[in-house]
Subunit: 476 residues, 2 copies
């Protein structure tokens, strides 16, 4: 069946972009309030969302709603195959909603990140209210959706939103699949050194030498690049697009490397994939196959490191040079996330180089706060998330599956215990970052197949209970 | 024991006002954020709260927290004897928090209601976040309160806040006593004519003639005051402080009368009380003892009505004249509530004069919206409360007692069914507006005694479960 005529009232465009999309959907836009909680600002903005009714049972069948996170929503639509794979079985309407301030859903256009007057409405609370409004609207205008149960899906920050959406709006969403959702990665809840330890452990699974090469690389980098000759050597040897000239360059370069090792841990998938970069199956294994001898001298060690790094930035063989200033994926928007880390998404990280393989770095909140002031005019609220959502005290919630892969560093901030009968933890030992949300693949380990089966069992129960409750509510 | 030294950091004043207070407490102030959900406005304001630790067990004993509603917090402290009566038994710390924009807790002083720029932060969502912040702060700074369970109490709009506080912040408040909380009195949830029918039924319990006198009084008033002679007659006969001159005066006068009949239904308590006015026990019975013959001619009917009305405005015998422009209680702040009805607290009321005794009046949303625009520059959001809090769909919540008296017209919007094992409805057949929250009285009917016993049972269970859960959480 087609979507209703009332949809013509809002702008409809075909889905298009320079990228090729894996799934078929239509693109719509909703006029959303900028501020849902106060009455000082009547501005509206245009929020993008994607819909597919290819398998929808128009008679109160479920709505599968993806709570968009920090990027262009098409990126998440392309990488959340589980929703697409599962919709036919449940005859579900599929909706992917773009998070405010990402993709094309910019409340104040190019000014959106310029100052708190415009950027200040970029909070999870406002984003959840957007989703609540949008779903209420969709259930009202789509014929046959009035009594549709809603299942929310999300991965990573989207998984946090999915869990919080069920906690705060249980009358709108009947259950949440919160994949790799680090809702505990906040001040006073999780120690700052836990994340780096998981990254390191992923490399240690392959070999201790691999870990040692990376651990020693920081001082090698510092020593080698201490003079101009060394900077030139490394720039040539590693084929850097922009040669290293300044201390700032060195810092940025090391930050890039830290991010690469972290990203590899996140996307250590069992088959070739292209989430943060085009990569082979189990990319850490491939990287580590190059990092085999930590006893080499510093320049030889760095050449070894470079060979491993190329797996990450040049698996396709098409890169002419290494651009360490480039974002992992242009569709993951750093502008927005940087603002969010400077208001409520204050996640402390620290490394000691002993229990992890990173260059030692304490969590310096004061310096962080200063940067936020300087860059965005924002004062971070490191305790806001726990105040709003409860930290570990989530036993009053219901109908949430928290899934975490043990390869995923974000499992450090995940809910890894069964909170109650209906708020459950699913551990995927061989899983990286929200592997379970990806499309089924012949290379999938059994553990992720089991996780998906369990998730579908919960979804089925939520839907059944919803219909029972709706029935009894109609009797009041 | 005394309150901790850290309290000296904030201003401490003795509780004082022109009124005599029934209970002993100290007054404190907290620096509160004006906007909890966005980062566009860093303003803070000073929120008042009252504390008594007279009976507190400083070793993680419970906190009894009253969620202040639309008035000076001392009014609610004086009229919520149940909290004071019960605190010793539970060794509870008692906290009464003033709602933003009421009493002395005005975020922008005298400008607070002047325009949306200042008045726009007066929403229930912001008020709940105030309470969440305040409680988190108190548990941090008061020695021995770190693991204190919190029970929230509220009556009327305060009862709505109490229920919503538990729904939205179950990690901060373990259970809610929501007395006479009309959380369903909103567009599309409860028919607009239900409220007036309950008011009328309260008078019908005394006599049908009483109802008939009031029902006929509107046309009598319209006819008699149609000319100047009639206006003068009524002004003299009723000893009005300001004689009726204009159509506007007549409308205001009739609005005053409607409010009186409504207020009487709300405060039809079994003993003399002074909540909205000093009144005898069961004041409707006393009023109706004067309204006995609806067959009289119009002027005689109005004289009868006047005799009944004097029970309300002059029970003390001290009133020199009838001031129909006066507020019921100066401590109930119309400024703030009028703003709230013009943003999210849009409660539709309508009367037909047939199934109720009021002058017929349809619910005219357009006219209402125009008034809000004109008076406050605000556009009401009639569906906001249901979007935020769920309307009747509250089965995912837990640990709430909804108590309603059948004499109370606000029971029309109350939760009158058991939602679940832990979200329960307590009906008090002989109860008016939050009678159960008032201090125990020898005249109390058995039904309110039973209600309080049940409420205490639930409170005890919430406290016990909290300690069990804290214990298990410490093991994670």
């Amino acid at each position: 069946m087609g979507l209703p005529a009332v949809f013509n009232l809002i702008i409809l465009i075909s889905s298009f972009s320079g990228l090729c999309h894996a799934y078929d959907y239509k693109t719509y836009f909703y006029r959303q309030k900028v501020d849902h909680f106060s009455f000082t600002n009547d501005d509206i903005f245009i929020q993008r969302y994607l819909i597919s009714d290819a398998h929808w049972n128009g008679n109160n069948g479920p709505i599968f709603f993806y709570a968009g996170n920090e990027g262009d929503i098409t990126l998440f639509a392309d990488n959340t195959g589980f929703v697409w794979d599962t919709a036919p079985e449940f005859k579900a309407l599929v909706v992917f909603a773009e998070h405010r301030y990402y993709g094309v859903s910019l409340p104040y256009g190019s000014k959106s990140f310029s100052e708190p007057k415009y950027s200040g409405y970029l909070t999870s609370e406002q984003a959840l209210a957007d989703y609540a409004e949008l779903l209420t609207y969709l259930k009202r205008v789509i014929p046959g959706a009035k009594d549709s149960p809603v299942v929310v899906f999300g991965g990573s920050y989207g998984g946090m939103l999915a869990a919080w959406f069920r906690m705060k709006y249980p009358h709108i969403v009947q259950g949440a699949i919160a994949a790799s959702a680090p809702i505990l990665q906040f001040t006073g809840v999780t120690p700052c050194d836990k994340f780096g330890k998981v990254v390191t452990a992923d490399f240690a699974r392959e070999s201790n030498e691999c870990v040692e090469v990376i651990r020693k690389s920081w001082s090698a980098l510092n020593t080698v690049t201490a003079d101009d000759e060394g900077k030139a050597w490394l720039s040539n040897s590693w084929k850097l697009c922009d040669p290293l000239k300044s201390e700032k360059n060195i810092t940025d370069f090391k930050d890039y490397l830290s991010n690469v090792w972290t990203n590899l841990a996140m996307v250590d998938y069992p088959y070739p994939a292209n989430f943060l970069a085009p990569l082979p199956a189990y990319p850490i294994k491939v990287v580590c196959s190059h990092l085999t001898d930590s006893s080499k001298d510093q320049r030889a060690l760095l050449e070894e490191l470079n060979a491993g790094l190329q797996v990450y930035y040049n698996y396709t063989g098409e890169a002419k040079c290494l651009n360490f200033n480039e974002q992992a994926d242009v569709r993951l928007d750093d502008n927005g996330w940087n603002v969010q880390t400077c208001n409520e998404m204050v996640m402390p990280f620290c490394y000691d180089g002993i229990h992890d393989f990173f260059e030692p770095a304490a969590w310096n909140y004061t310096a962080f706060e200063d940067e936020c002031h300087k860059n965005y005019g924002l004062t971070p609220q490191p305790f806001m998330v726990s105040l709003m959502y409860g930290g570990r005290n989530i036993n009053a919630s219901s109908n949430i599956v928290f899934s975490n892969g043990l390869l995923d560093p974000w499992s450090s901030g995940g809910v890894m215990w069964n909170v109650s009968d209906t708020v459950v933890s699913v551990i995927i030992p061989e899983g990286a970052h929200h592997l379970d949300l990806r499309s089924a693949d012949p290379q999938d380990p059994q553990s992720v197949k089991n996780a998906r089966t369990l998730e579908k069992l919960h979804i089925r129960r939520w839907i059944e209970n919803y219909h029972i409750q709706q029935h009894s509510l109609n009797g009041i």
